[in-house]
């Protein structure tokens, strides 16, 4: 992250901005946008710091066992020994939230990996080649968009049974269109530029143009999309788990915890609030970072 900040900063330091063809374009790059973007980064980092600390604690020390039941302490309200209270089996919610974190993040990363890589493939080819390729690329995207995520989840669970991989693949496929759009629009924009023509003339292969010349142009945009996709994947997994289509009983994710809590929402609201709050923090954090990245990439496009 620091690398980014440094990269952006040095440009403003010199007063010599007359290099840009239309000199006026550079003038719009005011420091005020920079400040907003920086603030968003800061908020995003602070929010993401909370799950990160929890993750580190989880690695070193768990105050309670995550699975063993303690019927004498059912539905304990938050107190000093149980910070987030206990659930219907008397299990410590704080410990469960902590130990649910790695799996939640793993699933989210898996979903985004599938979505991003396939989206990159389809989007890059569509945007670069245009014409028929673009037409069919878009049709694939539209087709995927028309399937509701829940239906896809049900389909996978019905066919392959409950499991982590089923969730990742089902949701990963659902994430393809959004990535595809971002990447396609970026490739479309840059493949119209003359430097692509120049490269074609000197005999550069399409793969070389796409990977070495066009991909770097959209990298910041893609990072912003990934940060947002990360948040969306957590939400999607939670809602699937909430509906009982997600990870199996034995695994702990925040969505699973929410589903378990719904039976006694009024009796012990804390059992839903804790994982819910964590989801909100994680989603907001990555949303802010995504937004900050987007603003930086917009600023850079102006020059």
């Amino acid at each position: 992250m620091m690398k980014f900040k440094r990269k952006f900063k040095h440009k403003d330091k010199n007063n010599q901005i007359s290099f840009i063809p239309d000199a006026q374009r550079a003038y719009y790059r005011t420091s005020s946008i920079n400040k907003v973007a920086k603030l968003q980064f800061r908020i995003g980092f602070m929010l993401l710091l909370i799950p990160l600390i929890l993750f580190l604690i989880n690695l070193l020390y768990r105050p309670y066992d995550t699975t063993s039941m303690n019927m004498s302490e059912r539905f304990t309200a938050p107190n000093f020994s149980h910070w987030f209270g206990t659930d219907n089996y008397g299990r410590d919610i704080f410990t469960r939230v902590m130990s649910g974190l790695p799996l939640t993040i793993f699933i989210s990363i898996g979903i985004n990996l599938i979505g991003c890589l396939s989206g990159l493939l389809i989007g890059a080819l569509s945007g670069y080649y245009g014409g028929v390729v673009d037409y069919w690329g878009n049709r694939i995207g539209d087709a995927l968009l028309s399937i509701p995520a829940i239906l896809m989840g049900m389909l996978f669970v019905a066919t392959f049974g409950e499991g982590i991989w089923q969730v990742i693949v089902a949701l990963g496929i659902m994430f393809i269109p959004s990535y595809m759009r971002v990447i396609r629009s970026g490739f479309l924009e840059y493949s119209q530029r003359n430097f692509v023509k120049r490269l074609q003339l000197i005999g550069a292969s399409s793969g070389r143009i796409i990977w070495r010349h066009l991909f770097p142009q959209i990298r910041t945009r893609l990072m912003s999309a990934i940060a947002l996709g990360f948040a969306n994947a957590i939400l999607a997994e939670s809602s699937l788990s909430f509906l009982g289509l997600g990870v199996p009983m034995s695994q702990i994710t925040w969505g699973r915890m929410l589903k378990d809590a719904q039976g006694f929402l009024f009796q012990a609201p804390w059992s839903a609030i804790a994982p819910g709050l964590m989801i909100v923090i994680l989603v907001l954090g990555s949303f802010f970072i995504s937004n900050g990245l987007k603003q930086f990439s917009q600023q850079r496009n102006m020059t």
Binding site: N15, Q16, I17, S18, A23, Y27, Y28, T30, S31
Partner: protein, 325 residues
Amino acid sequence: MQQDLTKAEYILKVEHLKVVSAQGAELVRDVSLKIKPGEIVGLVGESGSGKSISTMAIAGILPEGISIAQGKIFFNDRDITRISAQERCKINGNKIGIIYQDASQSLNPLIRIGRQIDEVLKIHTDLSPQERRDRVYGTMRAVNLSNVEKLAQRYPHELSGGQRQRVLIAMAIINNPELLIADEPTTALDVSVKSQIIELIKLINFSRKASVLYISHDFSTVKKLCDRVYVLYQGIPVEVGATEQIIKRPQHMYTKLLLESIPSPEKRGQKLLTMKARTRDYRGPAVNCLFAERCPKVFERCRQELPDMFKIDKGHQAACFLFDK
């Protein structure tokens, strides 16, 4: 006629204008210019010379983050440097007409031509729809558009580049402005259309008694159009004079070399550029002559002081120590 007597000597007077960006870069350093009623004044310079920014400052349309740091702008003896947005609205489009460079971007692509011209009238006058329509058609004819009833129903993209530029001019002159600011109106146009637009601006200046501030980097159009010329270099006027004086007898080395670098029949196949090539523009405060590093006749004093305008001839001035007598 009563009004004419009370009219100011100069329709536009800019005094020591300095425009800076948020980062402190000096985009316009010290521009003073005067336009008499009925005069066509050219503002010539290369990109980065601050000619566009000066005009934006005069029209009060500086982009965000760029502001006037010093100096005053008088329009009809009234200081318009720091007037409110509402006051500005009363002047722009009414007393000052502006023609922008890129006609295709200056028109709303979703609104018919007629309505876009009419909008200027709607804002600044309280004429009836009938009167407004007559005036729109009249102005469109005045800028040599033919078949105006049909053309008014068209959308901008259905027009040719020259026609769009004419529409923009019609919008600028419909309220009979006292000052017409033309920011490189011919840059994007073909040769034949270019000369037509120049003729049109000349005609407007003659028939509507509007003063014109013409901004360009193209000496060939300036030569045809302007009475007086200011040559700008890095935010400072380096030479002022009647067009003849500037084109035929340029005194400042920059103007001289700039004119020499235009290809002409006599210089066919020969080397054009005899001065040092441009490197990065310096944007800090000016302490010495800005052209010193490229000037072939540079001497010690140029590196130490910033030259004032020195008089050469009647109305002909240059910012160069060679003329300090």
